[in-house]
Amino acid sequence: MSDAVAHQAPNRILMLRVLTGFVEELRAVGIPVSMVEAIDAARGIEYVDLGSRSALRAVLGSTLVKNARHYAAFEAAFEVYFSSVGPPAGSVEDEARSEGARALLAGLAGAGGPGGGNGDDTSDLVAALLRALQDRDEALLQAVVRASVDRLAGIEPGRPVGGAYYLYRVMRRLELERLQTELVEVAVREATSSLERRLQSEEIERRLTQFREMLRSEIRKRLVADRGPQAVARTLRRPLVEDVDLMSATRDQLVEAERVVHPLSRRLATRLSQRRRQGNRGRLDIRRTMRASLSTGGVPVDPHFRRPRPGKPEIVLLCDISGSVATFARFTMQIVYAIAAQFSRVRSFAFIDGMDEVTSFFGPGVDFPTAMRRIGAEAEVVWLDGHSDYGNAFGAFRDRFLEDAVSRRTTVIVTGDARSNYHDANAEALRDIARSSRALFWLNPEKQRYWDTGDSIMGIYSPWCDEVSEVRNLRQLERFVERVAIPTTRPIRPVV
């Protein structure tokens, strides 16, 4: 090892201590890190230049995180624990490229200092920012970030916050949104074609997003310096996407859930089809065994078996698509349809206070948000006033569809919160549906302790269900669908 690396030895011991805390933080978020992987990370650090953030990130990322879905959580924790790794403050400024940029930098440095004299005037910052964005001058941009946080964030030491408010404050003082609109307007005016316009405004957005990220990480760095990594990490901790509560998810979280639900269901489909084909080996295939034995002089070395073909369940979905639980219904339908090949037939029905069949809205390659909008507009899911009425919806299903859609081979899945706005429960309708089916499951996206409070009548329906499950996130949903799809684990009720 070279001298440069050798004299970092005390640094390395410090690094190992930070690493231990970091691994604990990852485990607290829900990323499984085994002992072996932690050791690999520690060994990997031996070979890395500790002054380089990207190198350190690559080493820790490749040894500790083995799932791309966990990367966002890893990045967030990394930012907190290793915020101080990198070139020391001030060293990059000297490399600023142009004469003009250097002058701007000097100006920023002069006006600097928290609460400095001209705290209200941000024109020099904005000018420097525009210059940096235009020239793609990283050094100048970094200087602007530092000066902006110094002068505008107004960080109060010791407060247990994640920094979102400080970021908001800086962005508002710099009037970043107005700046973006203006930049886009200029670009649009200069562009010669619509394609050009689109590319230009995307480019501007990308650079401003980068600036925002730099601000965020600068603020985070200050917070860590103030309160230490453990405390900041705890404030910033967010659940992994598969654990996000779908009922109370933010828009960003829903977008992320949207992104993972497709690969998630594809994985589920592969797993199920493999499980189905493996199972037990089936009967001996005499013809193929005899044929194969010819090449070994008549000795049947290689026995062949017939593949078993277990029956596939038939699925009927009844989904409450009223406002509060619509998202949940959509995710359920999306997963069930993605693995439709695992079922002999899938039919879906949507209801609010009326019930209508919506199977035809879903075909291969359908866009689910669009399909859900069309259902809201075209299907007869509203009977009277558009407030959930489970009793009437179940009654309508029994009268119009039961005989045709449900048989002894059908598994019925109901999704909804069982909040029926104090309408008549009409439990007999659900009982009739349950009796004609093979099994009836109810998925409730509400926390179990809220069931049977207010207008929730889960308790009235549950005696007729084979199982009522609290399913609030993608992980639980996936697990449920998997269980339904495997025939051996499906309960079969005695004929009543």
Binding site: S34, A58, V59, S62, V65, S193, P263, Q278, T296
Partner: protein, 285 residues
Amino acid sequence: MPTTSPASIAAALEAEGYLPDDRIAQVVFLAERLEKPILVEGPAGVGKTELAKALASVHGRRLIRLQCYEGLDEAKALYEWNYRKQLLRIQADAQTDWSELAGDIFSEEFLLTRPLLEAIRSIDPVVLLIDEIDRVEMETEALLLEVLSDFQVSIPELGTIEASSRPLVLLTSNNTRELSEALKRRCLFLHIDYPSIERETAILLARVPELPKALAESKARIVASIRSEPIRKPPSVSESLDWARTLITLGIDQLDGTAVTDTLHVLLKYQADIDKVALSLEPVE
């Protein structure tokens, strides 16, 4: 060829026509130092298999490839006894004493080596590529564990065969299912995503040299823009390269909305995707 730092690996890969980003170079460097396999994951067509090929030529090593598929077993991955030859041997001298024969037919002469055993037994170090590992069943993964962590293969009749040289191992996965914890634990994880605009421009220029630089950059930006749309199958790097070649063949050197819309079928493979992107590119005057 010795690779002493991530930067020198990056330079060597570049010389082979593979443009790695910082992460890729770092992880490859680390894998060589720690002597651990790399599990490469990412969408189809971002150059996972290419990385293995480029690494093989950087080190001047032979590339041994095990293409995984459903139903892959020990006999196809590790080794198999040559039954036919063994039977012939037995029938050839039926007079020989059995005890003599038994040892004889389980010798290396009757062993058919398959890719994993071959990689282990090679005198010169090789690059072993286990392609699309996510296609085999969970249970089959277990076959790989001994090779991946200890670089050895146990054959009941012969004993344990240890590696005469450490192979550099890459596994690729399209992430169609979750791999087992045991496998992941033994590997370094490298997720390769679609490249940044700068890197994609560089890739286009390296692979399609006759492309003008300005055109390459605007192409990379358009492809990135299309990838940000909510479509079923975003265009991969290889499709982006095909697109560049198509435009050159057609003699198009100025990109506008119409030129892009007319050639979309090279980038996108679903009609619904093509319609959606074409609609979003349509000028809204």
